[in-house]
């Protein structure tokens, strides 16, 4: 009789909630009539993610390894799961927006219909929507939540695929500019699969080196002289590649601008916020838990990659003319900033650095801001849908002061201006890094922030200081979902900038890995 592995259902509740909702969504897709599917799907997805959020909040303080050692439900996992669930719910709200586009949704009516075909044109303005996006997104959210709690590499790999595969699909489901959307999907898919292969090979090598894929076992094995041997180090390298890809860290960032630009904007928001959180959650867990004892092996690497990422993101962002692409480069630069936080692993007064808490706070702050920024992008439209070309935003401040003000706030937050969440986050990660002696890196980071600030400013300049074009875009009146998203993100951006104490505290207290 084989004993069932120890399984704490309570600790798994957030995951169960989200995956359950996803499964129900699939069933709904199969059985519910087409007319009611949309509201039902939205409701189920929201209930699932919000359930995930609530249950994970209830788990605060939980520290255990469960599911036969496959999952670690610890402070960091819970914090990140809650973050992902919350950001996921916000993204889903963006998915659900139906009043902005005359075509009624950002998502295609029938993905199977070839783009540009007569049938496609016919369906262009149909109220029908490919409602599978909701269960798909819910699955992705579930995968992400699993990703950050994975305590062995296999679970991590499975979670990686669970979060990725739905993303590949929904990236290709834009209603307008379908060619771009599909291209984004193909690129994302091929490169994603390529990266997973690296991750997987890394897994295999680690397994070969240590005989186990349990993080704690790897930790013991890597504590040795040479970091556990060539195989283990190679394995680490390949694992890092796979994860950095997801986190869109340069030089594994190439897909990011293309996919961010091509995917439907709500999906881009979802990817920018949630995927980033999940990927960094996994990076932190892998580096801190599995390779924490051999920090010296990966520290120079992360140092270098952080610099490359910040510089590439900041410099390439300078000349972008498409807002979504620009935000993609911004996301690459932010990945670099996050890595400076990752470097704050140790070196604090009591031997443990403040890097984990700082990075988690940064993820939350950045996720909220970036979702908000993409949400604003969905509002500004012209005849072809969203007007994402920079030039079309000229004079928006005069045309629609509120929209421009909200966007300006998000941009200032991304630039890291004090009294916004972006500043608090930057301050936290930089402090962690300097604490650990990485002040040259921080200097580079600060200079990169200055360069990056230029392109954020450029948007503000356009919005406020330029004359509006005669045939400029219109600003749609957002429906309830988008309004809600904007309200939440604006509030969060300001609150986390002005009175971040409570959340910082939370992140600090959650900065615990078990396993």
């Amino acid at each position: 009789m084989i004993e069932a592995p120890a399984l704490s259902l309570a600790a798994l509740a957030p995951l169960l909630c989200v995956f359950g909702a996803a499964c129900v969504g699939v069933l709904v897709e199969a059985f519910a009539p087409r007319d009611v599917r949309h509201p039902v799907q939205v409701a189920i997805a929201l209930v699932g993610t919000l359930g995930g959020l609530v249950t994970s909040l209830l788990l605060v303080g939980e520290r255990q390894v469960t599911a036969g050692g496959a999952l670690a439900v610890d402070g960091a996992a819970v914090f990140l799961q809650a973050t992902i669930a919350g950001l996921g719910a916000l993204s889903l709200l963006l998915f659900a927006e139906r009043s902005l586009d005359p075509a009624r949704s950002a998502f295609v009516a029938a993905a199977a219909v070839p783009a540009g075909s007569p049938r496609d044109r016919e369906l262009m303005t149909a109220p029908r929507v490919q409602t599978e996006v909701y269960p798909l997104a819910t699955f992705a959210i579930g995968g992400m939540m699993l990703f950050v709690a994975a305590n062995d590499l296999l679970v991590m790999f499975v979670a990686l695929e669970v979060l990725s595969l739905p993303l590949y699909l929904i990236s290709g489901m834009a209603r307008r500019r379908r060619l771009l959307s599909q291209e984004a999907a193909v690129k994302y898919f091929l490169l994603g699969a390529f990266a997973s292969a690296f991750f997987l090979y890394g897994l295999a090598l680690v397994y070969g080196a240590t005989g186990s894929i349990r993080l704690s076992a790897i930790r013991e094995a890597s504590a040795g002289e040479a970091g556990g041997g060539v195989l283990l180090v190679l394995g680490l390298a390949l694992l890092v590649v796979g994860l950095m890809f997801k986190a869109s860290v340069a030089p594994f960032h190439a897909w990011t601008p293309d996919v961010y630009q091509g995917a439907p904007t709500p999906v881009t928001a979802f990817m920018a916020a949630c995927t980033k959180v999940a990927a960094f959650g996994a990076i932190l867990r892998l580096l801190y838990v599995a390779f924490g004892t051999s920090e010296w092996t990966w520290r120079p690497l992360v140092y270098g990659i952080a610099i490359v990422s910040m510089v590439v993101g900041a410099v390439l962002g300078l000349t972008q003319t498409d807002l979504k692409r620009m935000l993609a480069y911004s996301s690459i630069a932010h990945a670099g900033f996050l890595l400076t936080g990752v470097l704050g692993y140790g070196g604090g007064a009591d031997g443990t650095g403040s890097g984990l808490g700082a990075t988690m706070f940064y993820l939350l702050a950045y996720g909220l801001t970036t979702i908000g920024a993409f949400a604003v992008l969905t509002l500004v439209r012209d005849g072809d849908g969203e007007a994402t070309h920079l030039s079309t935003w000229a004079g928006l401040g005069r045309r629609s002061p509120l929209t421009a003000a909200v966007m300006a706030l998000f941009l200032l937050a991304l630039a890291g201006i004090p009294l916004t969440s972006g500043f608090t986050g930057k301050f936290a990660v930089f402090r962690a890094a300097i604490d650990d002696g990485a002040w040259p890196l921080v200097l580079v980071a600060l200079l990169a922030s200055a360069v990056a600030a230029f392109f954020y400013l450029r948007v503000i300049v356009l919005m406020y200081f330029s004359e509006p074009a005669a045939d400029g875009p219109t600003v749609g009146v957002p429906g309830l979902p988008t309004t809600l998203v904007l309200a939440v993100t604006v509030t969060a951006t300001v609150v986390l900038g002005v009175v971040p104490g409570a959340v910082l505290d939370l992140a600090e207290q959650a900065a615990i890995f078990v396993g």
């Binding site: 930089f430 921080v442 330029s466």
Partner: protein, 544 residues
């Protein structure tokens, strides 16, 4: 000591005012400006009351308020002022209402609403108060950076033709400086954590820490670069002429009058006390920049054809004097430097305002587009002259006292730098009088000329003693006349208080000095200089 939170109120009042102005419905422009004026006058009143509540001989920091803000970072929302900060608050209190009145009829560029202008202005005031009142380094940094935003919008939305370029340049320069400072701020925190066991940003606690000299130098540089960009020292200065030229007049006044003073204020408040060894070691290099600024910027000012750029360059020269005074490490010079900060705000503020009045009449910023204005607008010319004379530090004007103190205080410790800087006073006379002569003196010419020559004989004459003279001197054709009106009542209301302050502080500066000196003396003892001031080299016998 009072329990009323003066400083918090001074931050909150304009912030709330800004929100109220911004919330006004479209079309209530005049209500907006009335509100702005009311709020700014209220702040002035608060500043005056706070000064009364302040005890010059008492504790270093007074009127303190402290609330824990971000405990994880050891950050407190701690406010408090010493004499130095207090006089800056007074300066803010005076300048903002003046700027409001000066901008009363400012036309928004394009179709932008002026409500935004008033709102940004008040928000800027709030931030400026905060930056001077903060006694927590983190809080200071927050205000330091946040202050950029309203000024950025003031320049970018309401500025001249190249406002976009200027606004972005302003923001990026300041941001780069600010970010370098951020690194130093964090570094300071880390150092404090290592020294005290628990990180802190409280100024008073940080002052006590002995920092390793090497680290001190790095941290000093971090702060210094930010401040040297803000109070532009050569070669970090090129943003100021652009910003000063493109900003709306009100914005320019506050920019050079107050905002840039944060840099020099930062030297005194942060660089010197926190990093005394580094300050002493690096002072010679700073002095080179300071003196270079005095001379270089003065020469450049002469070469400018744009009046607003010219005034900006004069400011750079003045900042050189201030930096000289600060890094001479004598009580006299540093007191002079602080006084200079106030006086420069008033003098250059008035210069900007009056240049703005001229530009408002002619629509051109170029010196060469004006000429002979004094003949028909004597009040305008007079105010221009007074502002100019204050700028060249003529005795009897406020700037003289400060410039004199800076130089006389610097001479004993830094004779060479002082001698070079003193040459700057000749250059100052040159740039002021050159522009004054070109615009105000000489025959009427330029953009203000009446379009069609009129045949009516000029009664004013060209300067003769008799009527016969006048006819003799008058050229055959009717001389050109300008179509220019003299200062309006509103403009007089702008200029009068400034002129009054220029004269009053020029004749009787001692009350301000008494307010400033204790804080300066404290700073001097922080940096290891004798707070009692210069001691003469030769023995003094038989003096009173």
């Amino acid at each position: 000591m009072t329990t009323f939170p003066w400083l918090l109120t001074m931050i909150a009042v304009p912030a709330v005012g800004a929100a109220a102005v911004a919330a006004l419905p479209r079309g209530r422009e005049s209500l907006a400006r009335q509100l702005a004026l009311g709020v700014s006058l209220l702040v002035l009143l608060l500043a005056v009351l706070a000064t009364i509540a302040f005890d010059a001989g008492g504790e270093r920091f007074q009127l303190t308020t402290s609330v824990s803000w971000i405990p994880d970072f050891g950050v407190d929302f701690a406010l408090g002022v010493d004499g130095i900060a207090l006089v800056m608050l007074l300066l803010i209190g005076v300048l903002v209402p003046v700027v409001v009145v000066a901008s009363w009829r400012e036309e928004a560029t394009g179709r932008r609403s002026m409500r935004a202008f008033w709102a940004w202005l008040l928000l800027l005031e709030s931030m400026m108060v905060g930056v001077f009142a903060a006694t927590d380094v983190f809080l200071f940094y927050v205000f330091f950076e946040a202050m950029l935003v309203p000024m950025y919008f003031l320049i970018g939305s309401f500025g001249g033709p190249r406002r976009q370029y200027a606004a972005v340049k302003f923001f990026l320069y300041s941001l780069v400086g600010g970010l370098v400072m951020l690194a130093a701020v964090i570094g300071l925190y880390v150092v404090s954590a290592n020294e005290l066991g628990e990180g802190t940003f409280a100024f008073d606690a940080l002052r006590q820490i002995e920092i390793d000299p090497g680290v001190q130098k790095l941290l000093f540089l971090g702060f210094f670069v930010a401040f040297a960009i803000k109070a532009p020292l050569v070669p970090f200065h090129t943003w100021l002429p652009d910003s000063g030229a493109e900003a709306p007049i009100g914005g320019a006044v506050l920019l050079v009058g107050v905002l840039d003073k944060v840099g020099t204020f930062g030297f005194i408040r942060y660089c010197l006390p926190l990093f005394p060894d580094a300050s002493r070691d690096l002072a010679p290099y700073v002095l080179v920049l300071a003196v270079a600024g005095v001379l270089y910027a003065a020469l450049l000012a002469m070469g400018q054809s744009d009046m607003k750029r010219l005034v900006s360059y004069t400011s750079i020269a003045h900042f050189g004097f201030i930096a000289l005074g600060i890094f001479a490490f004598t009580t006299e010079a540093t007191t002079g430097a602080v006084l200079y900060m106030v006086n420069h705000g008033i003098a250059t503020g008035l210069l900007f305002l009056v240049v703005g009045m001229l530009i408002a009449r002619g629509g051109s910023r170029l010196v060469g587009d004006y000429g002979g204005v004094a003949a028909q607008a004597p009040l305008l010319a007079g105010v221009f002259l007074i502002a100019g004379l204050a700028s060249l530090a003529l005795p009897g004007t406020n700037s003289f006292v400060s410039e004199f103190l800076v130089l006389i205080g610097s001479f004993p410790t830094r004779p060479v730098a002082t001698v070079l800087a003193t040459v700057g006073i000749v250059l100052a006379a040159l740039y002021v009088l050159l522009v004054y002569q070109r615009t105000m003196h000489g025959p009427a010419r330029g953009v203000l000329l009446e379009p069609a020559p009129e045949t009516t004989a000029p009664a004013t004459g060209g300067g003769g003693a008799t009527a016969a003279t006048a006819t003799l001197e008058a050229p055959a054709a009717a001389p050109a006349r300008l179509r220019v009106r003299d200062l309006s009542r509103r403009e007089l209301a702008v200029a009068a208080p400034m002129v009054a302050l220029i004269i009053a502080l020029g004749v009787y500066p001692q009350p301000l000095i008494a307010l400033i000196e204790p804080a300066v003396a404290a700073t001097m003892s922080d940096v290891g200089a004798d707070p009692a001031g210069v001691s003469p080299e030769a023995p003094v016998e038989g003096t009173d």
